[in-house]
Amino acid sequence: MAKLSFPVGPQHPALKEPENLRFSVDGELVVDADIRIGYVHRSIERSCSERNYVQDLYLCERVCGICSNAHTQAFCQAVEKIAGVEIPERAQYIRMMMHEFERIHSHMLWLGVAGHEIGFETLFMYVWRDREVIQDILEMVSGNRGHYAMTMLGGVRYDITPEMVTKIREGIAFLRQRAEHYADIATTEATFLKRTVDVGPISGARCQTLGAVGPVLRGSGVGYDVRRAFPYLKYDEVEFEVRTSELCDVLGRTLVRVLEVIDACDIITQVLDMMPEGDITTRFPRKVPEGEATARVEAQRGELIYYVRSNGTDVPERVKIRTPTLANLPASLEMVTGGYIADIPITFASIDPCFSCTDRMVVLDDVNSGDSRTMTWPELVKLGRRS
C-alpha cells in the first residue's frame, strides 16, 4: 500500500481537544509524525499582563480545567516569592492537600481515558465511578468540582473542619484500596497488557534529551520529581517515594500514575496528621514590589513552570507559563513513530496531553474563513452574544 497521509484531528474522537496531528502511514505502520498546535489559543499570557494579580489568579486557574490548582499554586508561589510573603503553616498544608487531591482525580481521569482509548470501556466506567469520591471531597472542601478557587494570594480561602477530616480519611482509604485494585488489573489483564506493553517505547536518556517531564519521564526510569528536586510547600516534611518504572512504555507510565495515586493518598493522610492549628491567610500587598521569580510545581502531568515579572504596580509585567504537555510533545512524536496506527491514541494519551494548556497563548483567529485576522474584543463579544 502506498504511503498515506493520515490526519488525526483537529476533530477526532481520540483527542478530547482540538489539535492536528499528521501521520504518514505505511499500511498499519506510522513512519512519520508531526503536530500542529494552536487551535485553542486564549491569550492567557497576554491577558495576565493586563489584569491585576487577583484577577490573574482566576485566569491562571483556567489555563487548564484538570490541573487548575497546580496553576494557581505555581502562580501564587512565584508572586509570593517576589513579594517576600510567607504564608501560614496551616495554609501550606491545606494547599498541599488540594494539590494531592487534584493529583488523585487527574490520574484517575487519565486511567479512565486510557481505558477508553484502547476500547476498554468498563475500565473507563469503573474508574470514573470511583473518581466521584475524590470529586465529592473536592466539592466539599472547596465548593466546586473543578476550578476550586481554593488557593489565594497569601493563603487559602477555606479551612478544613474536623467533620471534613473524617470524611476525607474515609474517602482516601477507599480510593487507596481501589488504586491498588487498578494496579492489579493493569498488570494482569491480558488484553490491557497486549495494548500497553512495548507500546510507545522511549528510553529515559532520550526523554531527558527531549525535555520530557512528569510521569512520561518517570515511566522511563528517570526520577525527576519537582516535589523532591525543588521542595515547595511542606513536601520536604512528608515521606513519599518518587515512583519510577524501567518499562519505558505505556504500561510503565500507567503504573507510575496508579502508584502515584496510592502515594498521594498516603501524603494526604500524613498531612492530616501533621496539620497545625492556626490562620489560613496572611495579609498580601496589592502592589507587588518590582522583581522576578520562577516557580516550579509538580503538576499531575509533570513539571509546571511559571515565570512572573512584576514592575511595582498591581499588574504583573509578564507571566510566562510552560505547561507539561508542551514539554512532552517532542517525546510523544518520537513514541508514535515506528508504531502501529492502532497505538496512536493510547500512545498520545499516555503523555496525558492537555492541549488547552499547551495553547494558552495569544491568537483569536477565524480558522474556517481561511483568511486570518485578529478579532477585536468588541467583535468577539458580538460573536459570543449572538442570541
Binding site: E50, A205, L210, Y307, R318, V363, V367, T374
Partner: protein, 154 residues
C-alpha cells in the same frame, strides 16, 4: 551542588563576560550573558552538568531589548540564563542542536516576539497560523498585539 558553588564555577570560567550572576535562593541562580554567547554558554552548561533539563525559554519585551531567559535545571540547581536581544538585531543563535528540548520553545519565541532564531532546524510557526501576517508579534509591547482602542476587559 548549591547555588553559590554553581555561580563560582561559572564565574571562574566566564567571569568577565557575564552581565549578571546572583543567587536568589539556595537552589536558584540567575546568570546573564551577551546574546552572542548563548550557544557557547549552553554548550558549557550541557558539558559541565549533563544531563541538563531545559524547563522552558521565556521571552519578555523590556522596551529596547527583549529578554530571553533559558530556565535550566543543572545538577539540582535551577539555572536561569538570561540573554538580552537588542531590538535592532532581533536575532539570537539557536541552542536546539545542543539542547534538543529547546525546539518547541524557540519556535514559540519566534512566533510571539519575532526574534529570529538563527540556525533553527525547524523554523515553522508553532502556535500562530501559517497565514498570520508577518511582522505582527502578539507578545511584543511596541507595535502589535491588542491595540489601544480595544477594551481591556469588557
Amino acid at each position: 551542588m548549591t547555588a553559590s558553588e554553581l555561580i563560582e564555577q561559572i564565574q571562574a570560567q566566564y567571569g568577565g563576560e557575564l552581565t549578571e550572576a546572583n543567587a536568589s535562593s539556595e537552589v536558584e541562580v540567575w546568570v546573564g550573558v551577551p546574546a552572542v554567547d548563548v550557544q557557547k554558554m549552553a554548550q558549557y552548561i550541557v558539558d559541565s552538568w549533563a544531563p541538563v533539563h531545559l524547563s522552558t525559554i521565556t521571552g519578555n519585551d523590556r522596551g529596547a531589548h527583549i529578554d530571553i531567559i533559558y530556565h535550566f535545571v543543572a545538577d539540582g540547581v535551577s539555572l536561569n540564563l538570561r540573554a538580552a536581544v537588542d531590538k535592532a538585531v532581533d536575532a539570537i543563535d539557536t541552542i536546539t542542536p545542543i539542547v534538543p528540548a529547546a525546539i518547541m520553545y524557540e519556535r514559540e519565541i519566534t512566533d510571539m516576539f519575532g526574534v529570529t532564531i538563527s540556525g533553527h532546524p525547524d523554523p515553522r510557526r508553532l502556535v500562530l497560523p501559517e497565514d498570520w501576517p508577518e511582522g505582527d508579534y502578539p507578545l511584543r509591547r511596541d507595535d502589535s498585539g491588542a491595540e489601544e482602542g480595544e477594551e481591556k476587559n469588557g
